[in-house]
């Protein structure tokens, strides 16, 4: 019988990293010690704990990472509470990859890139950032504006400090919502910080975060003179199948799981306001 | 009656007593009326309908409508709808001050399924003619006795009296004896446990878990039903096995016990024609026998015998003994 995408594969949780008080990053491998499958930056996979449920998560590791696959997951519901109890050596199931990736080999080639992320919204962008860093010659300047509630809520903080900030041609601008002891950096919400930094209009923007943050950030970018065609984002709606058949993640005629999760902002503008 | 209701509604809209009217809107055929809220005399004139097919109980909509600001809503309630409304009032689910109630008499409502069961299809129009319905169809004209196509709940009507109203249109009626109403339950009680189990298995196995019975039920007003709540541990979207088919209906019957006014909406809406009212009526009959005659919705202050303790209450042993008999 033909292979069935709804039947997942068992994988081993190789490592669990605590990123923030409510975000953990899980490294998974097949039992043979290999990366479960190949993907493109921005694509997602369904992860499940049998008996608990299944959910769609963006793949946080870069496709250029040939050794393993990572998922950064925020604790916010039934399944994610269980995922946060996983320990190295335990198994989960995965299936995928699903969805439309960021156009790293098309529209983004040769462009100056501006990544804007809020909170766990860095997760899908991290795959792109590392993909770009590993194919540095194919892209222009990289600017990363990243904000979180507090210093402790900045996901991948170590990687940001040790690797991104030291990468040639990469500028990292961090911000947190409120003053905090031990924080000498910028304080304020992401949308405002973007306006303050007044980035170059020629950049292609990749923005991801809570819906409200995306909304205000895009409004600010528009004010600065950015066109919707320059802005890429990712959407998140309730999903079950991941393949555009179960019928619940649509915005108008588009299914987020299949036609997204990555959309260009002008494409979203064509869709009804139901997300 | 339709014209009287329309005129009264227009007058109450005009003098500002109410700002909206809940009633029934004309459909495509003669029988497919839809509950609707009317805001103007023009809308009433064009679409308001009241006839033998206006069976839908509008009292549950009054939970939502009475919560709105912006004036009172006029509702026309048949006697059984008024019992439902009163029960909702007792449970503090409607804001009485936002509702103006007109009690309307009811001679029983027609069940289109019964007309269709008589082999009549291709319906183009249904007219009342004395004691008959004259049904014009693409295949010719048919005539049926109205009394032969009444809904089951109307054949078993408990009361022609309105337990609550602000004004009445037409004559007030009286309570009716319960023997007809409980005949179906009495028949189930004469069955052996196995026969009864087989009867319910055969009926409940038809369930498609569309939730129509629950969603239409004026006693089912939980903000979040256990069957919809993934955290409840028993949320089910489908009757995956016979046990689940049974449990959904049994749990629901238990939950509305003592609060069900026997309005019969559950059986009316069931696409599979499962006689769900029999479950509820069994509870009503048992309550009557164990605690004395009680009608949910009788008045808005009555204590439900299942939730109020008296020293004369039937003890568990008594209930068990009677169950054995």
């Amino acid at each position: 019988m033909n292979s069935e995408t709804l039947i997942p594969h068992a994988v081993v949780v190789e490592d669990v990293r605590i990123d923030t008080p409510d975000v953990k990053t899980f490294r998974v491998l097949t039992r043979e010690g290999e990366k479960p499958f190949d993907h493109l930056p921005g694509q997602c996979a369904m992860i499940s704990i049998p008996g608990v449920g299944e959910g769609m998560f963006s793949i946080t590791s870069s496709p250029t990472n040939r050794a393993y696959m990572e998922f950064s997951i925020k604790k916010c519901g039934h399944l994610t509470n269980w995922l946060h109890m996983l320990e190295p050596g335990m198994e989960v199931t995965v299936r995928g990859p699903y969805g439309r990736p960021f156009p790293v080999e098309e529209d983004l080639l040769g462009k100056d890139l501006l990544f804007i992320a809020g909170g766990i919204g860095l997760a899908p962008l991290r795959a792109v950032i590392n993909y770009v860093r590993d194919n540095r010659e194919n892209y222009g300047d990289v600017q990363i504006i990243y904000g979180a509630r507090s210093k402790d809520d900045l996901v991948d903080y170590a990687e940001i400090l040790d690797e991104w900030q030291t990468s040639p041609g990469v500028e990292v601008d961090l911000t947190i919502d409120r003053e905090q002891a031990g924080w000498a950096g910028h304080v304020g919400f992401v949308p405002n910080y973007v306006k303050e930094l007044n980035p170059d209009r020629g950049k292609t923007v990749l923005v991801c975060g809570p819906p409200i943050m995306i909304k205000f950030t895009v409004a600010g970018l528009t004010e600065l003179g950015f066109a919707p065609e320059q802005i890429w984002t990712t959407m998140e709606l309730r999903m079950k199948c991941g393949i555009g058949k179960c019928g619940r993640c649509n915005i108008g005629a588009k299914y987020v799981c299949k036609d997204g999760p990555v959309f260009r902002y002008d494409e979203l503008g064509e869709l009804p306001d139901e997300y | 009656m339709q014209e009287m209701m329309k005129n009264r509604a227009k007058a109450l809209l005009a003098d500002g007593t109410v700002s909206r009217v809940i009633g029934w809107r004309r459909g495509e055929f003669s029988y497919d009326v839809t509950p609707a809220v009317f805001e103007t005399a023009e809308e009433l004139e064009r679409d308001f309908v009241f006839d033998a097919f206006c069976g839908a109980n509008v009292s549950k909509y009054l939970i939502r409508e009475s919560a709105k600001d912006g004036g009172r809503i006029l509702a026309f309630l048949k006697p059984c709808d008024a019992f439902s409304f009163n029960q909702l009032l007792a449970e503090h689910r409607v804001r009485r001050e936002n509702v103006y109630l007109i009690g309307i008499p009811c001679a029983g409502k027609a069940d289109i399924d019964r007309i269709k069961k008589a082999g009549i299809d291709g319906v183009l129009g249904i007219a009342e003619d004395g004691e008959d319905f004259v049904v014009s169809t693409v295949y010719g004209e048919e005539r049926v006795k109205q009394a032969d196509v009444l809904a089951e709940r109307c054949l078993a009507c408990k009361s022609k009296r309105h337990p609550v109203y602000d004004e009445l249109l037409g004559e007030e009626g009286e309570d009716l004896p319960d023997d007809v109403r409980f005949a179906g339950v009495a028949k189930l009680e004469t069955m052996t446990a196995e026969e009864r189990f087989d009867f319910w298995r055969s009926e409940l196995s038809k369930c498609i878990r569309c939730n129509a019975c629950r969603n239409v039920c004026p006693a089912c007003t939980c903000e979040n039903c256990v069957f919809d709540n993934p955290d409840s541990g028993i949320s089910q979207k489908t009757a995956a096995d016979p046990f689940e088919e049974n449990m959904y209906h049994i749990i629901r019957a238990f939950h509305v016990a003592g609060r069900c006014t026997d309005c019969g909406e559950c059986s009316r809406v069931c696409p599979e024609h499962i006689p769900l009212h029999l479950l509820n009526r069994k509870f009503i009959k048992d309550i009557d026998e164990l605690y004395g005659t009680y009608r949910a919705g009788e008045d808005d202050g009555t204590k439900n015998p299942l939730t109020s303790y008296t020293e004369g209450d039937a003890e568990a042993s008594v209930v068990r003994e009677r169950g054995r008999a």
Partner: protein, 343 residues
């Protein structure tokens, strides 16, 4: 043309049932039928339509997708799929026959749903023309001819039996061992019966229902129409329309722990349900208006937009007959079309 006499139907089906499982509509009560496995001497329903559609044969209300067993802290994946038995569904009407094509567009598009594909590959559709269409019928609005249904074999019904036309290789193979029950008849009778069906359709109250206002690309015109509020106001948010609908195919996936293993199953779901799009972080369709709109926009705009203009409704009229408050796609179409004219 081949003809099967009404009096020979039982022998015909009995013989056919020796080759594969046959499902036929059986009356449960007057004017209410359901598909059941055929048993000799069981009268086949004369009714127009089953209460539930025929989609159950290919997309059952609930089915196991995969099982899991934990052994030595490892997850063992259990594939429950087995080759489906050969079967045939008798008495399918033109509306339901078309619905399979619509379901195919969902389930057989990449990535193929192998559970559906498996059943589809083993099922023959024996369709029947409609002799007595009901007032709720409006299949012609979607270009369906109830006198000439799709399917593997078409049975054109007359007073004393059926003209039989195999349309596919599978249909011809099915009939090959059953020739002895058929006789040869002049096909004039078939044409007469078809003409009568088409004539009746024109006299029905929903004849002439217009689809012009709908179709792919109409999202902008229709999504924010104010009429959605009044159309949806009486909707009780049950799933009756969805579950009796031959083309509704949304599903949920859930896990069930039997104690020995976890079964991951899927079951029909309804966009009319409040939890359909509910997430830990919120719900994009907060009120019944949004849920109601989704169902009709999907059938009348989104589906045609993604499928070459084909509507996601076949006009079977089951939702008209079953909706507890008699709100349905016809009322939606008429109301929105009228509003369109006024604009």
């Amino acid at each position: 043309m081949k003809f099967l006499k009404r009096t020979d139907l039982d022998c015909f089906l009995t013989a056919a049932a020796e080759h594969r499982t046959i499902y036929v509509p059986i009356d449960e009560e007057p004017n209410k039928s359901a598909y059941r496995r055929y048993k000799p001497r069981t009268p086949v329903s004369q009714g127009l339509k089953t209460t539930r559609s025929a989609k159950d044969f290919f997309f059952p209300q609930t089915e196991n997708l995969v099982g899991f067993r934990i052994e030595d802290k490892k997850i063992k994946i259990l594939d429950p799929r087995t080759e489906h038995e050969d079967f045939a569904v008798f008495g399918v009407r033109a509306c339901d026959a078309r619905s399979f094509g619509i379901l195919d567009k969902v389930f057989l598009s990449e990535p193929v749903d192998t559970y559906y594909q498996n059943r589809r590959a083993h099922g023959l559709i024996l369709t029947m023309t409609c002799r007595r269409p009901a007032e709720t019928c409006f299949c012609t609005a979607f270009g369906i001819d109830p006198a000439s249904p799709e399917g593997d074999i078409v049975f054109t019904e007359t007073a004393d039996g059926w003209y039989i036309e195999p349309k596919t290789e599978g249909g011809r193979d099915f009939l090959a061992p059953l020739e002895e029950f058929l006789e040869e008849r002049d096909e004039g009778g078939a044409e007469e019966a078809k003409a009568r069906t088409r004539e009746t359709m024109e006299k029905l109250p929903l004849a002439g229902l217009k689809t012009d206002s709908f179709g792919g690309g109409k999202t902008k015109e229709l999504f924010d129409r104010p009429e959605w509020a009044s159309l949806s106001e009486a909707c009780i948010g049950c799933g009756t329309c969805t579950f009796v609908c031959p083309t509704c195919q949304c599903y949920d996936i859930r896990d069930y722990d039997t104690g020995r293993e976890v079964r991951r199953f899927r079951c029909w779901d309804s966009c009319m349900y409040s939890d359909f799009t509910k997430m830990a972080g919120g719900n994009p369709r907060l009120t019944q208006k949004e849920r109601f709109r989704q169902r009709f926009m999907h059938k009348l705009v989104y589906f045609p937009e993604n499928n070459g203009g084909e509507f996601g409704c076949v006009g079977c009229g089951r939702c008209l007959a079953s909706c507890p408050i008699h709100m349905n796609i016809v009322k939606v179409m008429k109301t929105l079309s009228e509003g369109q004219d006024e604009q």
